[in-house]
């Protein structure tokens, strides 16, 4: 390959997904060339990043060729704007014919016989799937250190975690291995890694994107959402995967206002008439000074574009973490019961000399197949749901949840969107919080309330902290009004890009891209 080709490759993979799509439309690039380019970046970057558990090279090329053929024949009219653009998928989402493990040993080798609804939509849009990205086992963790297979590294500093559980998807997008990815967000698993890697991550309204085919962690909190490098890219992907799905009982049977339109509107950087609510309870104390500083500057930028910033109080948000760590493990304990060695995945027979019963086989399978964090949560949840404790734990937690929902409802009477920092700190070093689950749980203190309330939320890069690491800025919107947060998010992104002279990720050192350019 000539160096000219390589510089074209670098130019291509650093484009936003929307820009890639535009080049496809104008026949300046084929889907195949995009996939080949990303596969080269993956090959170069993976030894140091390890964002992928599985790269589906052949399938991706096949899908790209199929799209290119259709495109050449003029049959791609009416397809979503992102048609032909490659994407990476968190390994928590089932993909027919491609191994899906949820980063757990217990599902090693499991090849699903069906596609998640979001995957069906992505395939219908002619978007090649590059592979499955790493995560904390069953999406349980905030650092991607709990994966049973490998540890994903933060592209900004490979000695640091990329956040979790969607560290794989976030790092894949941040490192230019993929322009887009899908994640799942149960307590912040899209947004917190977004903040730690300098990417955009969105948790849509609960029920706004079908969960059918998302391996359940905690059903009432889980949500599939986009990971991207720009707000518009997330909007495009969000609109593509969203909508009612008859296979998901909790799916919202209404069409929601266009978020792509809202994102494009935001790019005009005019926020006159918009009221932004600063949530008193999730900022300030407990947040790293550099994180707080970038947050305050971003607020100023919003004001400069005409937004009015007001302080609002959501008094019950201080109980969100506690409620979350009751409700989430309760649902986990039930959802993960099916991994019993009976029908699929790992089966470990009981040791010699032990009764070869179903119960003993199940115990041996779970002992070998589940990691410590998963076991910890299953035990917590089993306890919280058990007779005599249900009312005190699960029942109380649900009451707190109701209070949090009311807090948000009241707050949204006073403003259009709410804001907070996404994560209390920037990316931490491997092992730093690994043996201290409670400290690790605090990572999600700012993201969890949105999952409990079912409201949409997103994190966008707000610049670099004093330690040179990315900081996330979080928006919340009322239920089913995801569009409302896309407008100020796109505006803030434009303002910040303007002030620093370009997208933040361009300031990141990318030796794996440089080596390709040589």
């Amino acid at each position: 390959m000539s160096s000219q080709d390589n510089s074209r490759l670098n130019d291509l993979v650093t484009l936003s997904a929307a820009e890639m799509a535009e080049k496809i439309q104008h026949n300046e690039v084929s889907s195949r060339e995009l996939v080949e380019s990303e596969l080269k970046v993956i090959e170069s970057a993976e030894p140091s990043i390890q964002a992928f558990l599985h790269v589906s090279k052949d399938e991706a090329l096949k899908q790209a060729d199929a799209f290119d053929k259709k495109h050449a024949a003029g049959e791609t009219e009416g397809l979503p704007e992102l048609a032909g653009v490659p994407i990476a998928i968190k390994d928590m989402i089932v993909t027919k014919g491609i191994e899906t493990t949820a980063a757990s040993k217990i599902l090693q080798g499991w090849v699903p016989p069906y596609d998640a609804t979001v995957i069906t939509k992505i395939k219908a849009a002619g978007m090649p799937i590059l592979g499955k990205t790493n995560l904390d086992e069953f999406a349980q963790g905030s650092s991607t250190e709990h994966s049973a297979y490998t540890t994903t590294h933060n592209p900004w500093d490979t000695e640091r975690v990329p956040g979790g559980s969607g560290g794989g998807s976030a790092s894949a997008v941040a490192s230019f291995e993929a322009p887009l990815a899908l994640g799942t967000d149960t307590g912040g698993s899209i947004r917190q890694p977004g903040a730690l890697t300098g990417t955009v991550g969105v948790k849509p309204t609960y029920g706004g994107v079908s969960r059918f085919g998302a391996i359940a962690m905690a059903s009432s909190l889980d949500q599939i959402g986009p990971v991207s490098r720009t707000v518009l890219d997330s909007a495009l992907l969000h609109e593509l995967i969203g909508g009612y799905d008859e296979h998901d009982s909790t799916s919202i049977p209404k069409s929601l206002p266009s978020i792509v339109k809202a994102a494009r509107e935001g790019q005009k950087m005019d926020l006159k008439g918009m009221k932004v609510g600063l949530i008193k309870e999730i900022s300030g104390e407990g947040f790293q000074p550099g994180v707080q500083a970038r947050f305050d500057e971003a607020l100023k930028a919003l004001e400069n574009m005409g937004a009015e910033v007001v302080e609002v109080s959501c008094p019950h948000l201080s109980y969100a973490l506690g409620a979350y760590y009751i409700i989430m493990p309760s649902e986990v304990s039930s959802n993960l019961a099916r991994y019993d060695g009976m029908r699929y995945g790992l089966r470990v027979m009981p040791p010699e000399g032990t009764d070869q019963t179903a119960a003993n086989m199940m115990a041996a399978t779970r002992e070998a197949g589940f990691g410590d964090e998963v076991k910890r949560r299953i035990i917590l949840g089993t306890y919280a749901l058990s007779a005599g404790y249900y009312d005190a734990w699960y029942g109380s937690a649900q009451k707190v949840r109701t209070l949090i929902i009311r807090d948000y409802e009241n707050a949204f009477k006073q403003c259009d969107v709410l804001v907070s920092p996404t994560s209390p700190s920037t990316a931490f070093k491997f092992g730093e919080k690994m043996n201290d689950p409670l400290t690790m749980y605090l990572e999600d203190v700012a993201t969890i309330p949105a999952n409990l309330a079912g409201v949409p939320a997103m994190s966008i890069p707000a610049g670099l902290s004093d330690d040179g690491l990315p900081v996330g800025f979080q928006f919340f919107a009322p239920q089913m009004r995801d569009d409302l947060m896309y407008k100020p998010a796109a505006a803030l992104e434009a303002a910040l890009d303007q002030s620093r002279g370009g997208p933040m990720l361009q300031s990141m050192k990318t030796p794996w891209l440089e080596s390709l350019a040589k």
Binding site: I93, V94, T100, A102, L107, W110, P112, P113, Y114, A116, R211, F212, G213, A214, I215, A216, A218, S219, S220, E246, H247, D248, S249, T250, S330, E331, S333, S334, A337, R338, D340, M342, R343, Y344, A358, A359, M362, T382, L385, S386, A387, Y390, Y394
Partner: protein, 500 residues
Amino acid sequence: MADTLMKFADAVKKYDPVFGLEVHVELSTNTKLFCPAHIEFGGEPNSQLTPVSLGLPGSLPVVNKTAIDYAIKLGLALHCDIAEWSQFARKNYFYPDMPRDYQISQYDKPLNGNGYLDVELDDGEMFRVPIERAHVEDDAGKNTHVGGADGRIEGADHSLCDYNRAGVPLIEIVTKPVEGAGARAAEIAGAYVRTIRDIVRALNISHARMEQGNMRADVNISLRKTPQDPLGTRSETKNVNSFKGIEKTLVYEIRRQAAILDKGGEILQETRHWDEASQTTAGGRVKSDANDYRYFPDPDLVMVHVTKSHIDELAAHMPEMPRERRARLKAEWKFSDLEMRDAVNAGALDLIEETVKAGSDAAGARKWWMGELSRIANEQGVSLEELSITPQDVADVQNLVTAGKLNDKLAKQTVAGVLAGEGTPAEVVAKHNYQVVSDDGALESAVTEALDKNPDIADKLRSGNMKPMGAIIGAVMRATHGQADAKAVSKIVMQKIHQG
């Protein structure tokens, strides 16, 4: 060790039995409760599956609206309050044939609550069974244990799991404790379950075949000294799958518990099994610790919302319930209480009704199905429905009798011909040239001949002793190859003796 038993009559004299039934009815929807997998009895193992019914990672349940409508109809028939908002909960427990390792059932917010069912007993007495709830849940799959004795799990080498049944919709109808049944507990329980079967069949929401497992019952029973005492410790006999079995379980448990209590013993709270072969119940798992199912609302399913107008619409299209139907038919057909009960118990009601619809008079239809055809069915060891004769055939035969074209004997021969596959009644009659000879000339000569051959009988008749009339008619029948009209014959005989 076999349990000792007290005589039933003594047991119910000494103790007051209180029972409760949990009847599971499998709904006959086309697809499963939470996914579009088809339901078909006897399909190839594991051929009726979707990712949902197999509980695959990522799969989600969505409620089958038809199953909810079926359940509402049953709720209406059982005089239940239909909840505007009901909820599915997870019942967490492990069993190899439970695909998700939790059952989706209804717990504290069931669809149907607080109803009753009036049950008619054999002697016509009515008994009201109070109903606690009737909720919707999904069934588990089926395990087949291989290598052990008589297919039991104990000693089995391995087990095969068939998930075809997993996810099939069930309604569980739970009674309140049924008090005041006394010596009639078993009879009431049997009649209650039969009535439920009739209702779900009338509603067309279940095939209700006990032998196929469409219906099964858990039988709870406890004894106490007097009706004023608190409820005693109960035993729960699981999955009894025949009407007789339910009745026998109650009788057996009353006798067993009475014997234990009589000796000052204590009843264990345990699950038991009805063993058809030995006609006894056997102890299973002792419930020393209550099972902790860790129920909680299923977060994958939104609450079920049933509007008042939807209930009204379903109520407006409810078919006639079995008891009302019986009352109406009894009046229309002018049957006695006994005739009606016999017809119901023989399962002949539908057949009689269809025969009447096909043009027969009710008394004739009843006589055929409850008489000759019941006898033949009994002889062949089949049910009335299984006989190869249709209600239309029976109506046709009966109409030939009414019209005087067949006598009883020829009619029975015609029926036999139909059953033997010789064709319709008309075809059988034509083939054998069955006809009543009522031609006076032919009959008169036959009667004369019979009286001449039997002078002593003729004398008796003349002297007013009518007993030997049958012998003369029989002789005439033989002479006419069974085709004589018996009434005409006896009329001619009377004329002859009075002339003579």
